[in-house]
Amino acid sequence: MRLRDTLTLAFSALLRNKMRSLLTTLGVVIGVAAVILMQALGLGATAKVTGEIASMGSNMLVLMPGGNQRQPFGGSFLAVPLFTQRDLAAIESECDAVRLAAASNTRSVNIVVGERSRSTNLYGVTPSWFEIREWGVARGRLLDDSDLQQGAKRCLIGQTLVRELFLDQDPLGAELRLHDLTCEVVGVMVEKGTSTFGADQDDVAFMPYTTFVRRITGDDHVAMIMISAASDERTDEAKAQIEALMRQRRRIMKGEDDDFSVRDMREIQTLMSTVTGVLTTLLASVAAISLIVGGIGIMNIMLVSVTERTREIGIRMAVGARGGDILAQFLLEAVVLAAFGGAIGVVIGLGLAYALAAALALPFSAPVDGALVAFAFALAVGVIFGVFPARKAARLRPIEALRFE
């Protein structure tokens, strides 16, 4: 029997039961669409993380308390000593590969403006923080050295606070209350939008480090130091210098573990990609399982179909169909079903991925490889789950099949 004739046969059998064919293939449609959707979103998320971290500058380093156990952001912050302002000064003066260093303490506070209040992240920073993070004001001015020296009651706020607390009125020169402290708004930060993991980066306020430690925490330790290396190329050198300096200042002996860590952005980038990669793989495997369930659906219907068409099989065998011809006919039906479902799934998956990427403000990149793999997987599912019913059909004995009612 010719392949073309087998194909024609498979198609006409499937077209005869259009509704059933459509429903049978639904599982594969959903499975393939889900695999593609997950991959597209994973790619988008990774691209966004990479982009965000790249925008922070690859010459940025972060000095944090806690050892460098390969955990996200070190171990416990509480058990180990924080840094001091003298550490900060020492880094700036003694490490020649370091261009800038800034203190960065943070605390969640409640801000009150008139009747309205909102809980937000308050940062106490030294002025170079803004240069290191490359983040400026949209209106007004940044905090400067004189604000720091005076311990000025001045602050900067993010766009979300402008919207929520000032209802889009001009906040410059206005006052807001933090605990019992009254602060003047001197600037509004440039809008940053939502981070990859859904945090609102504009829900922030900044005040001079000095004001923060005196009025908010009453403790002048430095929780975290942001550092900018002299250049991208000197980032590793800066890291080594800071580590050597801090070991010396904290009197860590040879052979002892560090109780601080210096992270660079590449490291964080790798970590983030690993996290998104693992998530993507996980979700894609879940989706792949639904594809297998789709395959079982195909097998189920093909088994029903073989039973229903036993007489037809008998007639075909009586006029000379070989077992192989019958096998090919039913296997091809299963594969055509799976291919059809796979093709629809690819279209739906890409469409949904596009729409969802737009909705989540993720960059959209079509997972071409992923689509091909998912489609091939659907075909394989068709073959694997089609073989059993097709073999069952092919092994029927002609006379018994003919007598079947």
Binding site: R316, M317, V319, G320, A321, G324, D325, L402
Partner: protein, 243 residues
């Protein structure tokens, strides 16, 4: 004349059942459909198989058509024992050498007449154009020209029978095995079908084996084999051969 060929048997007979038994089921419920049948059919014969209902005629025909295998005994085609042949060879035999006309037509139900008729040619690997051409010719031969696209369900019993005959003829087989080919036809159409089978036998030299209850129909054959209870009761030349 038939005996003249049958007796010396320089070459083995075309079809030969040797001591064939067929038992359906087991133990208490076992049905002995055939109880030791010896039957040899030479090339070019026109044999009628007669007998009461349930005496094993269809069972024997299925055996001859390689659709069923004996419980004991042997079936030989041109001296070759069929029991040893692989399934694909049997399929090829059914496809090329036998044209089977079933007692109950056995047409594909939701399929047009021409698609039913071309079926054996699909499995013979004949290209589509030639298939349709030959199927159309076969339908014309049985008087169904113009009804090619009719579904089986849209045809009368007699017309369905004729589609089944066209399907048996289309692969130009050497042997026609017809199980009650006129069972569903009125006597005039029955006579037409018999005229067709007689012509195939006499002009093209096809071997025809036909099951029937009807003595009048059987009169067209040159040899009568009568079954009773799974055995052959008598096997003789037709005393009143057709003119």
């Amino acid at each position: 004349m038939v005996e003249a060929i049958a007796e010396p048997a320089a070459a083995p007979p075309l079809l030969e059942l040797r001591g064939v038994t067929k038992v359906y089921g087991e133990g208490e419920a076992a049905v002995h459909a055939l109880r030791g049948v010896d039957l040899a059919i030479q090339r070019g014969e026109f044999v009628a198989i007669l007998g009461t209902s349930g005496c094993g005629k269809s069972t024997a025909m299925n055996m001859l058509g390689c659709l069923d295998a004996p419980t004991a005994g042997e079936y030989r085609i041109e001296g070759v024992s069929v029991g040893a042949l692989p399934a694909d060879v049997l399929a090829a035999l059914r496809n090329r050498r036998f044209g089977f006309i079933f007692q109950g037509f056995n047409l594909l139900s939701r399929t047009s007449a021409i698609d039913n008729v071309e079926l054996p040619l699909i499995y013979a690997g004949v290209p589509r154009r030639e298939r349709l051409q030959r199927a159309r010719e076969a339908l014309a031969l049985v008087g169904l020209a113009g009804r090619e696209s009719a579904r089986s369900t849209q045809l009368s019993g007699g017309q369905q029978q004729r589609v089944a005959i066209a399907r048996a003829l289309v692969s130009r087989p050497e042997v026609i095995l017809a199980d009650e080919p006129t069972g569903n036809l009125d006597s005039r159409t029955g006579a037409e079908i018999m005229a067709l089978l007689t012509r195939l036998n006499q002009e093209l030299g096809l071997t025809v084996v036909m099951v029937t209850h009807d003595r009048e129909i059987a009169a067209h054959a040159r040899r009568h084999v009568v079954f009773r209870d799974g055995r052959i009761l008598s096997d003789a030349a037709n005393e009143r051969p057709p003119s």
